[in-house]
Symmetry: C2
Subunit: 80 residues, 2 copies
């Protein structure tokens, strides 16, 4: 089963990487860029074929390793 996990900084947490991208886009002449936030995306292929159990595993992975839940939020998307 394929899944995609997004890990983004929570709203309100300063995102210097996103800010750097916003400035760079401005310098390249892209006007009208109002905000940029940058995060991670992790594509995972699991042996588990039952959707609910896969989601449970992914949630545990996020809590234990993939996200720092003090400052980051995560979203789990299971394909198919």
């Amino acid at each position: 089963m394929k899944a995609r996990v997004h890990v983004m900084l929570k709203n309100g947490v300063l995102d210097p990487q996103g800010e750097a991208v916003r400035h760079a886009l401005g310098n390249l002449g892209f006007d009208g860029v109002e905000s940029v936030r940058q995060g991670k995306v992790i594509e995972i292929e699991l042996a588990e074929s039952e959707r609910e159990r896969a989601e449970e595993q992914l949630r545990a992975m996020c809590e234990k390793l993939l996200a720092n839940t003090v400052i980051e939020r995560y979203e789990i998307e299971i394909a198919g």
Copy 2:
């Protein structure tokens, strides 16, 4: 207009970051993780309200700044 851009290493390009995550998950006792690929996700808010023009801008941003198209592929998702 809100959009999300995914930038992933192309298939076949070695992804040491993803491999490190896969190992770490194994060490934490998560079995059945077949593959892990890690990439970037960039959430952009544009002043542009016309969908087609927004997509064109985003494509140009990817080609010029956000992705290294030699080794990375990108996907553009426009919200709403």
